[in-house]
């Protein structure tokens, strides 16, 4: 582990407000996968130049090729972040290593972005057998830099069933430490998690167990095998405190986005689909008067469509919006939604989190819109992963959801791309015509920005 003797990591900020004044990002690290494309190549982390003043702007400047095939890269994160500046945090740690798990393989790659951030290198590989032996978990998803370790969520156990949960990695050696949960109660399904550090609350969500999702979405599984709950945990005691069902008819409680201001114990979550009418919804969860509550604050209906539908949607004669990712700007002013079915990115003003106001939207690809990039690039797939820059001015968008599901919803083929949206600080979104990254046959998933972004860091100060 590196030593930082005289200066602390300058990318750490005690509060989200201070982080908004950080210099703009130079590089974006993008998870790219060949899994599910029919091409027998290893996934890679692409390094994309996002500095408009650079000669290689909007280009892939390097690829960190992984040594194995079929990892299915998905989400990843940093070894350390601004939580190190919590009053009892560990201030000498530095943001240096990307923790990159394979969702399908359960293998973890530790990638060093120093000394040359444009050419990161793999320094350690944690094999799936080790992860399974130590934690009993597999299919690794969200990564967060925690106060005492690196936390990674897992969708299931060794056999691909439940319960899924969270495992911990040592901050310094990156060795798997084991299961995080001590008392999980009735929690069985897992997906995303995040926390409010000062209140010592962890929140987790539900997708489905690996055996349900890995071979593709089966409509007959929607009723019983997909989750619709959010769980609240005591972060220190590692005990589940409470669970809330977010609408009996809704399925797939995915991305958890607590407000960045740690004095506000609330956040948003997206429910991907309603069994009733295929709509997607956004729920606000919050703690008030000593109890947890949740209410639906946004509902997006399905769009009727007769022709040009993939096989899986033909019985419905409609395109579900499929809100598969959400993200909140660091000032907690705007909530962004990706509509992977319809093909839109939406921006909502959440100054009043109970009453979000639609302030902007753009059309990109999609089963419904089939919209191309304004610079003329053909867009397959639709907006999926979103990442907001720390100043809230730029939103980076990629288009792959999950290999087998990509093939079902976009059977004509999905080729990876990355698009940049310019966000107006007072509301409004537009597609940046100068920025387009084509990943060719590879598919693109999560983006991490150098120095941190709106979903990478946790803060202890408002």
């Amino acid at each position: 582990m590196a030593i930082v003797p005289f200066k602390r990591d300058p990318t750490f900020y005690p509060s989200p407000k201070m982080a908004m004044k950080a210099p703009p990002e130079d590089l974006a690290y993008v998870a790219c996968l060949y899994t599910g494309t029919g091409i027998n190549r290893a996934d890679f982390i692409a390094v994309v130049d996002v500095n408009p003043k650079s000669e290689t702007y909007s280009k892939i400047v390097h690829k960190v090729e992984l040594p194995y095939i079929n990892d299915e890269l998905h989400h990843f994160g940093w070894n350390a972040c601004s939580s190190a500046l919590c009053p009892n945090g560990k201030p000498n740690i530095e943001r240096r290593f990307l923790i990159v798990p394979g969702l399908r393989s359960s293998r973890i790659y530790i990638i060093d972005t120093k000394p040359n951030p444009r050419e990161p290198k793999i320094i350690k590989v944690i094999e799936p057998e080790e992860v399974k032996k130590v934690s009993g978990y597999s299919r690794l998803h969200t990564v967060h830099c925690g106060p005492d370790a690196i936390y990674i969520s897992a969708l299931g156990n060794e056999e691909g069933e439940g319960p899924g949960g969270i495992l911990m990695l040592d901050h310094y050696s990156f060795e798997p430490l084991g299961k995080w949960e001590i008392d999980r109660g009735d929690q069985y399904l897992a997906y995303d998690f995040w926390w409010n550090l000062p209140n010592e609350v962890l929140v987790s969500s539900e997708w489905a167990v690996p055996n349900t999702i890995e071979d593709g979405l089966k409509l007959e599984h929607l009723k019983d095998r997909y989750g619709n709950r959010v769980h609240f945990w005591d972060l220190r005691k590692r005990k589940k405190l409470h669970s809330l069902t977010l609408g009996e008819e809704n399925r797939m409680a995915l991305e958890l986005r607590p407000l960045h201001d740690p004095t506000k114990l609330m956040g948003f979550i997206n429910m991907v689909v309603s069994l009733k009418d295929l709509s997607s919804s956004i729920w606000l969860w919050y703690y008030e008067d000593g109890k947890w509550n949740a209410e639906k604050v946004i509902e997006i209906p399905a769009e009727p469509l007769e022709g040009n539908l993939p096989e899986i949607l033909k019985p419905f004669k409609a395109v579900p919006p499929l809100v598969t990712d959400i993200d909140i700007s660091l000032d907690d002013k705007f909530l962004y939604l990706s509509l992977w079915g319809i093909g839109e990115v939406r921006q909502y003003d959440i100054s009043n989190p109970f009453k979000p106001v639609l302030t902007g939207k753009v059309k990109l690809g999609g089963i419904f819109h089939r919209a191309d990039h304004p610079a003329g690039y053909k867009l397959t797939g639709a907006p999926q992963m979103l990442e907001i820059s720390r100043d809230g001015r730029r939103v980076y968008v990629t288009n792959s959801l999950y290999s087998t599901w990509d093939n079902q919803f976009y059977p004509e083929g999905l080729k990876g791309w990355m698009v940049k949206l310019n966000a107006n600080p007072s509301g409004g979104l537009e597609i940046d015509k100068e920025f387009f990254v084509d990943f060719g046959e590879a598919r693109s998933h999560q983006v991490r920005l150098s120095g941190g972004d709106a979903s990478s860091d946790s803060y202890c100060y408002p």
């Binding site: 500046l85 009892n88 901050h171 310094y172 972060l235 202890c460």
Partner: protein, 184 residues
């Protein structure tokens, strides 16, 4: 010799008082969570518990100025400097504890980290070099914390976070005090 030693003790108290990672952040943290009274109370609380053992020893034990005790003190200060270098350069020797803005958590944090860092030695040295020197150290430390918090409230200047104050300033002052012990 007295003036430079007094200046060193005062400086050490002041520098540790403005070091955000030695308790100043807690006041700001409590303030953010609308615990205003506690946030103003924290500077003396942190100073007291961070140096509690040193205060008790300074009050109860008078270290004689003879070669054997001088040698013991030199060894202790040297060990404390080594511990501080290790603690301020790595994260291995560090107690993090609970994140909840509760006074008992700060007390635990102060006690645990002060023992890890051998902080009480500073008090003992101050008292050895100057009669009632630990009071000078204690007062300069908590008054600085209180003033720093009064001016910073919920926005501790970023520059204070950016530099490793302990390694850059506190340890050189301790080395000066070590020289002071040798020369007295």
């Amino acid at each position: 010799m007295l003036h430079p030693i007094l200046i060193a003790i005062l400086s050490l108290g002041i520098v540790e008082g403005i070091n955000p990672h030695k308790g100043l952040l807690f006041s700001s943290y409590f303030y953010s969570f609308k615990k205003r009274l506690e946030s103003y109370l924290l500077p003396p609380v942190i100073t007291t518990f961070y140096y509690l053992l040193g205060i008790i020893i300074s009050l109860l034990v008078i270290i004689p100025h003879d070669p054997i005790f001088k040698l013991m003190l030199l060894n202790l200060v040297s060990a404390s400097i080594i511990m501080k270098v290790i603690c301020s350069s790595s994260n291995f020797l560090y107690y993090s504890g609970s994140m909840k803005p509760v006074l008992s958590n700060v007390i635990k944090w102060s006690l645990a980290n002060s023992i890890i860092e051998m902080a009480p030695i500073e008090m003992i040295v101050a008292n050895y070099l100057v009669n009632l020197g630990f009071i000078i150290f204690f007062l300069s430390n908590f008054v600085t914390r209180e003033i720093a918090f009064y001016f910073c409230k919920n926005s501790v200047p970023r520059k204070l976070y950016l530099y490793n104050i302990q390694l850059m300033i506190e340890i050189p002052i301790l080395i000066l005090l070590l020289i002071g012990i040798i020369l007295t």
